[in-house]
């Protein structure tokens, strides 16, 4: 009998404090054989469990092209994330995954890619960015727009710096008005406004967008105005999940189970769904 709910054990090899309430874990699967055969695709998620407190769902933030380490980032909100925060390097957590579908990167080769992320929403997008950067020659222009509430809420600052230094990537970082500090050199303004100002060309471009619901809500009209097709706008939905296996019914909206049929949807698919996310 196979127990689909049984997690792998994973060791926390490194903890990075991103913001006061966001952390990044680097994980190593303990079972050497599992670790060897483990593979996933950009956009998939996993269940991270603290024994005694339960499991929580986050995307895998590292790129599948860099398979030796699994990374995840989370913001402390509920019971499990609070328990995760208390853990130290060397501790063991449960890891179930990878689950769900992925961004169709293979099919989109030869196109320009526009990444738009807000707050902790950079985590799933980061996985795709790294993946695309590793396959750099297959894609044309790469643009990254990232915004957060304030400078201290920016996650992956080391990554942002890395991307900004790349000559073949255009990186725009913005903070909400009022969130800037004295030495802030990036943009000030909400993500939709910044995208509008930037006006990336829609032709032969796909947009990968992830962030708080309100950001997505206002950015999509901007993209539509710029001429993006529904099928070229991708996002990942974040519904509450428990099993990740399409059983527990929590993430069911319309005819889909977000954990199985998602979490990656293009805007055309999203329009078909009832608005329950």
């Amino acid at each position: 009998m196979e127990n689909i709910y049984k997690p792998y054990l994973a060791e926390i090899t490194e903890i990075i404090d991103e913001t006061p309430d966001t952390k990044t874990f680097k994980l190593r699967l303990k079972d050497a054989e599992v670790a060897k055969s483990f593979n996933f695709k950009a956009g998939q998620f996993a269940e991270y469990g603290v024994f005694g407190d339960g499991e929580s769902t986050f995307c895998i933030a590292s790129s599948p092209t860099r398979p030796d380490v699994i990374e995840c980032s989370f913001k402390v909100y509920g019971k499990v994330t609070q328990a995760l925060r208390r853990l130290n390097e060397g501790d063991t957590i449960g890891f179930r995954g990878p689950y769900g579908n992925w961004f169709p990167l293979e099919e989109q080769k030869g196109k320009n890619v526009l990444f738009i992320a807000g707050g902790i929403g950079l985590a799933p997008v980061r996985c795709v960015i790294d993946n695309v950067l590793d396959w750099r020659k297959d894609y044309k222009d790469i643009t990254i727009v990232y915004g957060a509430r304030s400078v201290s809420d920016l996650v992956y600052k080391y990554k942002l710096k890395e991307w900004q230094e790349m000559s073949d990537v255009k990186t725009v970082i913005t903070v909400d008005p009022g969130g800037e500090t004295d030495g802030w050199t990036g943009e000030v303004g909400f993500v939709p406004t910044v995208v509008e100002k930037l006006a990336p060309k829609a032709e032969n471009t796909i947009a990968v967008i992830c962030g708080p619901p309100v950001m997505i809500k206002f950015t999509i009209p901007v993209l539509k105005k710029l001429g993006f097709k529904d099928e070229d706008i991708f996002t990942t939905l974040e519904n509450r999940m428990k099993c990740g296996l399409g059983k527990c019914g929590r993430c069911n909206i319309g005819n889909v189970y977000v954990c199985k049929d998602g979490p990656v949807f293009n805007y055309a698919q999203m329009k078909e769904l009832p608005e329950e996310f």
């Binding site: 009998m1 127990n3 909206i253």
Partner: protein, 336 residues
């Protein structure tokens, strides 16, 4: 399809043998299906009211450990939970109950396979019984079943006269099972059971499920949902007594400082916190939306995805509802 005949007395002997062989024997009581120690207590009554709770708890328990763990300083060991492999025979189940496994099999076996469920079903023998009960809440005929439906049964009993039952052998599993008890069975007379079946009064067809499906597709936003939502009290009685509702929750609970288990518990979509995100955002924040999800999931989404209506028409949810919300009435009104 094979058919045999068994006398009432032999039926009791048959049950006694089942218990003597160390199998679990379940039969409907007033509230739930009970584990039977003394088979002479079993009353087989086609006119009895359905139990308040369905028997899904025996294949999909209300609380079930899926994993045990022990924590060390920074290490964890895990132990798989196992499923009791005892054979379970359910005796005298109503056709509206027996159909449930066909429907549940789909959700527990699409893509990933939930072996906790599968192992239990594998060890399950369902002996159905024709039903002559019908009240205002019954609507099995509206969802493609009937009081004489053999769907989901391994063996199906039809009373042909005062002292004898016709036993229809529906599946190979059923055939194999009664092989060991063949001494109790005599050759059957299908025409008698046919005649008995024809006499059964069928509940009226309350709605056309295809039309309902179509209507639901067009009326996601409808004032009706808020109307029901105002009356519904947001308990999960309807989901928990339902033979096919299958949503669950995974929770960890500690047994001591270092040991604990991960449980799979029933959960219900009518609870406000079912979809509540940790951030405080709730996609289904009011009861009307949750009730809409319940109806849509049963009569639309599940049909689209698995080609089965997620409902057996047993009417339990309506019968037990504290504020008398009648699913049959609501679904029947899902037409233009």
């Amino acid at each position: 399809m094979d058919e045999k005949i068994i006398s009432k007395q032999n039926l009791v002997n048959f049950c006694k043998d089942i218990v003597a062989n160390g199998h679990n024997l379940l039969a409907p009581g007033k509230t739930e299906y009970n584990l039977i120690q003394d088979p002479s207590e079993i009353v087989l009554d086609t006119k009895s009211k359905p139990t308040k709770a369905s028997y899904k708890t025996f294949v999909f328990p209300k609380a079930e450990p899926i994993l045990y763990y022990k924590r060390g300083k920074n290490d964890v060991v895990m132990l798989d939970a196992k499923v009791d492999e005892k054979k379970t025979v359910i005796f005298g189940a109503k056709p509206c109950d027996t159909n449930s496994f066909n429907i549940l099999n789909k959700i527990f076996n699409w893509d990933y396979k939930d072996d906790f469920y599968n192992e239990r079903v594998k060890n399950f023998i369902v002996i159905g019984l024709m039903c002559e009960y019908s009240d205002r809440y019954c609507f099995c005929t509206s969802v493609g079943s009937s009081p004489v439906s053999e769907k989901g049964s391994d063996l199906f009993l039809v009373p042909i006269d005062e002292n004898n039952y016709a036993v229809r052998i529906v599946t190979d599993k059923g055939k194999e099972f009664i092989g060991a008890y063949s001494k109790y069975f005599t050759e059957g007379a299908p025409e008698k059971s046919k005649a008995a079946e024809e006499k059964v009064k069928q509940p009226e067809v309350a709605f056309d499920s295809k039309q309902v499906h179509e209507w639901l597709g067009k009326n996601f936003e409808h004032p009706k949902w808020d109307g029901v939502g105002d009356l519904c009290l947001s308990c999960a009685q309807c989901a928990f007594v339902c033979p096919v509702c299958h949503c669950f929750d995974l929770v960890d609970e500690d047994y001591s400082y270092t040991e604990g288990r991960r449980m799979k518990n029933w959960d219900g979509c009518q609870f406000g916190h079912f979809t509540l995100h940790a951030s405080g955002h709730n996609p289904r924040d009011i009861q009307g939306k949750r009730y809409r999800q319940r109806i849509n999931h049963k009569f639309k989404y599940y049909v689209d995805k698995f080609d089965e209506i997620l409902c057996t028409g047993c009417g339990r949810c309506s019968r037990g509802c504290a504020v008398s919300i009648d699913i049959k009435e609501i679904v029947a009104n899902c037409t233009d």
